[in-house]
C-alpha cells in the first residue's frame, strides 16, 4: 500500500477512538524522550472518518506523545483509499508485531476485534495466522477470554504476576473479585500452579460456606498474614496457602496435624522416615531407613525397635 505522507492538525485526530488500539495502556514516557531527542522518525498511520476526524490505526503512543509535547501539527501517513476496518486492524497488528511480539492482553483484544469479521468456521484459523499464535484451539480460547478480565487483573497478566491459566480461572468472577486476586498475587508472588490452586480453594470455600469470594480473600486471617512483618513474602504465600487448605479440607488437615504431632512424639532421628498412606485412604504405611554403614544401621535398628514399642505408634496405626 502506498501511503500519502502529509501533516495534519493534531486536534483533528480523535485520540479517544480506540477501535484499532491493541495495547491496554498508552505509556508515553519513554517515547517523549526519544521524540525530544531525534524527532518523530516513524509517522503514525491514520484514516479519515465520515465526520472528517481521523482514527489512529498505528502509532497511538506517538500521537499522544506529540500531543503531550504541545505539537499543533503532526506528520502522518494516510492510506490512499479508505481501507476497511478489517484492513486497518490487520495493519495495526502487523505494525505492532514488526516491533515486538504482542503480549497476551493485546492478543486477546485483537481476537475480540477481529472475530466479527470472520465466519465461525474460519475464525480460529484466520486469526491464529494473523496473530502468529500456535494452532491450538484450547490456548486460543484461553487467550480470547482474557478480554473479560478487570483492568487490574489484565495488569497482573502484563506484569506476569497473574498467569494465563489463573487469569482464565478468574474470568467468570465479578470484577471486584478478580481485583482481590490480582492484588493478592501482586503482593505475594505465587507460582503458576499455586495461583490456580489458590483460586480453586477460594472459590470452593466460598461455595461450601455460602460466603462471597471477597469475604474469603479479605478474611482477617489472610489480612493478618499479609500484614506480618516477621516473615518474608514466600513465607506469607505459604501461610496463606496452608490457611486456605485448612479451611477447604478441615477434617483432612486436622488428621494430618494429628499425625505429625504423633510423629514428633515418636522422636525418630533423621535416618528413619514414617510415611502415612496418601490422604489416609489406604492402610499401608511406609518406613524408609537410610544409613551409610553398619554402625548407622545398628543405630537405626535400636531406634526402630524403640519405635515399635512406643504406644504412640499403635495409636497412629489404629
Amino acid at each position: 500500500m502506498n501511503f500519502e505522507s502529509r501533516t495534519v492538525s493534531i486536534n483533528e485526530i480523535d485520540t479517544q477512538d480506540s477501535r484499532y488500539q491493541l495495547s491496554l495502556h498508552i505509556d508515553t514516557h519513554t517515547i517523549i524522550e526519544s521524540i525530544k531527542a531525534v524527532g518523530l522518525i516513524n509517522p503514525p498511520v491514520i484514516v479519515k472518518r465520515d465526520d472528517d476526524h481521523y482514527s489512529i490505526v498505528c502509532g497511538f503512543r506517538r500521537v499522544m506523545a506529540c500531543k503531550a509535547l504541545g505539537w499543533d501539527e503532526i506528520p502522518v501517513c494516510i492510506p490512499p483509499r479508505r481501507p476497511t476496518d478489517l484492513d486497518c486492524l490487520k495493519l495495526a497488528i502487523l505494525d505492532n508485531r514488526s516491533h515486538r511480539p504482542l503480549n497476551l492482553i493485546e492478543q486477546s483484544r485483537a481476537i475480540k476485534k477481529l472475530s466479527p469479521f470472520f465466519p465461525p468456521q474460519e475464525r480460529f484459523s484466520k486469526i491464529t495466522f494473523l496473530l502468529g499464535l500456535p494452532e491450538n484451539e484450547k490456548v486460543f480460547k484461553k487467550i480470547e477470554s482474557l478480554c473479560q478480565l478487570s483492568e487490574s487483573a489484565k495488569l497482573g497478566i502484563l506484569e506476569n504476576t497473574l498467569s494465563l491459566e489463573a487469569g482464565v480461572e478468574l474470568v467468570e468472577l465479578e470484577p471486584e473479585e478478580q481485583d482481590c486476586f490480582a492484588f493478592l498475587f501482586r503482593t505475594l508472588k505465587f507460582s503458576q500452579n499455586k495461583q490456580k490452586e489458590l483460586i480453586t480453594f477460594v472459590k470452593e470455600i466460598a461455595i461450601r460456606e455460602s460466603v462471597g469470594i471477597k469475604e474469603v480473600i479479605n478474611s482477617e486471617e489472610i489480612r493478618g498474614i499479609i500484614d506480618r512483618s516477621d516473615i518474608n513474602r514466600n513465607q506469607k504465600a505459604k501461610e496463606i496457602r496452608a490457611y486456605l487448605r485448612r479451611r477447604r479440607f478441615p477434617s483432612l488437615t486436622k488428621a494430618e496435624a494429628k499425625f505429625f504431632e504423633d510423629l514428633k512424639s515418636l522422636r525418630l532421628g533423621p535416618h528413619i522416615r514414617l510415611v502415612p498412606p496418601p490422604y489416609f485412604e489406604g492402610t499401608t504405611y511406609n518406613i524408609t531407613i537410610t544409613f551409610k554403614d553398619i554402625t548407622e544401621l545398628e543405630q537405626c535398628k535400636s531406634e526402630f525397635d524403640a519405635m515399635c514399642q512406643n504406644p504412640v505408634l499403635k495409636r497412629i496405626l489404629s
Partner: protein
Amino acid sequence: MSVHISRIYVDQGITHLPETRAILDRLKHVPCTVVFDYKVVQDEVLRGDDPVTEGKRVLFLTRNKGAFLKDCPGTKYYNCCGYKILHIGTYCYMDCSYCILQTYFNPPVLQYFMNQEDLLHDLDRILVSKQGPIYRIGTGEFTDSLIWEPWTDISMRIVPYFAAQERAVLELKSKTVHIKNLKYLRHNSKTIVAFSINTPAIIKSEERYTASLKSRIGAAAMCEEWGYPLAFHFDPLILYDGCEPDYREVIRYMFKRVSAENIVWISLGTFRFMPPLKRIIQQRFPGSKIIYGEFIPGLDNKMRYFKPLRIDLYKKIVEWIREVAPDVLLYFCMEDDDVWHTVMGHVPEEKGGLPQMLDEAAIRHCRLTRTVS
C-alpha cells in the same frame, strides 16, 4: 414421559422387528429417522452446546453388537459385589448431577437394544443348566432399569424368563415409579425390585426428573404387595449440613411403608466420582454443591470423601437401619476392609466374601437353589 424425547433414530437393521414398530407406535408423536450408521446419531448429539443433555432427548433404537452380560467393573482394593450387568440399553432421560453415565459414553445417547433374542440367548448360555453358580444380574448399571417401561415390553420378557429358573435373580434398580407392567407378571420371587434412595433435599437439588422419595417408597410398597422381593440403595450418600436427621427420617419413613423381611439387601455408598465429572457438574449443575465436600483421591482414582467422614456417616446409617431391621443384609458398595471392619464389625472375608453374602441373601429371599457343579 415421552415429552423428554425429541427425536427417535432407528437403526435400519431393526426396522422390520415387530417390537420396533410397537415402540414407534407408542411414541408416534416423536419424529423418527431411519439411519444406517450410528455416526449420524452421534453427530446430531454432538452438534449442540450440551451433548450430555442432548443425548437424553434422542432415542436410538438399535442392536447390541457386543455381549449382553458383563461383569460389574469392580476394583482390586475395594470390595466388589460380583454382580453381572444385563446390558439392555444405555443412558437415561432423568438427570442426576452425579450420574456417572455423563462421562461414560462419548457422547452419551439414550440407546435401547432391540435384539432381545440375543439377550435371552446370552442368559440361556449361563442359566440353561440346572447346575452352576448363583448369579445376581441387574439392568441398572448403564441405564435406569425402569425408564424403558412406558415404551417397551422389556420387563414382560425378562421377568418371566427369570421366574422360570432357579439360579439367578434379576435386580431392577430405578428412581422411577414405572412399576405398572410388573403387576401381573409371573415373577416367582426371582426379580428384586430395587430403588435408589436419597433424602428429599438431595432428590430435589441433584436428581432432576426423578420420582419423589414418597413415590419411590410407595412404588416399593406396591411391589411388595405384588410379592416382589425388594432392595434399596442408599447411593450416593451425600454429606451436607443437616444430612443426618434427613437420612434418619428417610429410613424411618421407608420402614414405615415396607417390611424389613422382604428386603433382600440394602447397599450403602457415599458419593464418589471420577475427576472429569467435576467439570461436568460445574457446567451442567452450577447450583450443585456436592462436589465441594472433603474429597480425596481414592485408590481406584475416584474422588471419595475423606475416610473418617465416610465412616462417621455409615456408622449412623447402619445403626438407624439396624434399630428397625437387624436382619437385613447391609453392604457397602466399593469400600475397603478397614471401613467394613470399623462400621460393621466384620470384613466380608469372614463371611465368605461379599459375593457370597449377597448370594446367600438372594437364596433366602428369592428361593434360589444352590447346586454344586
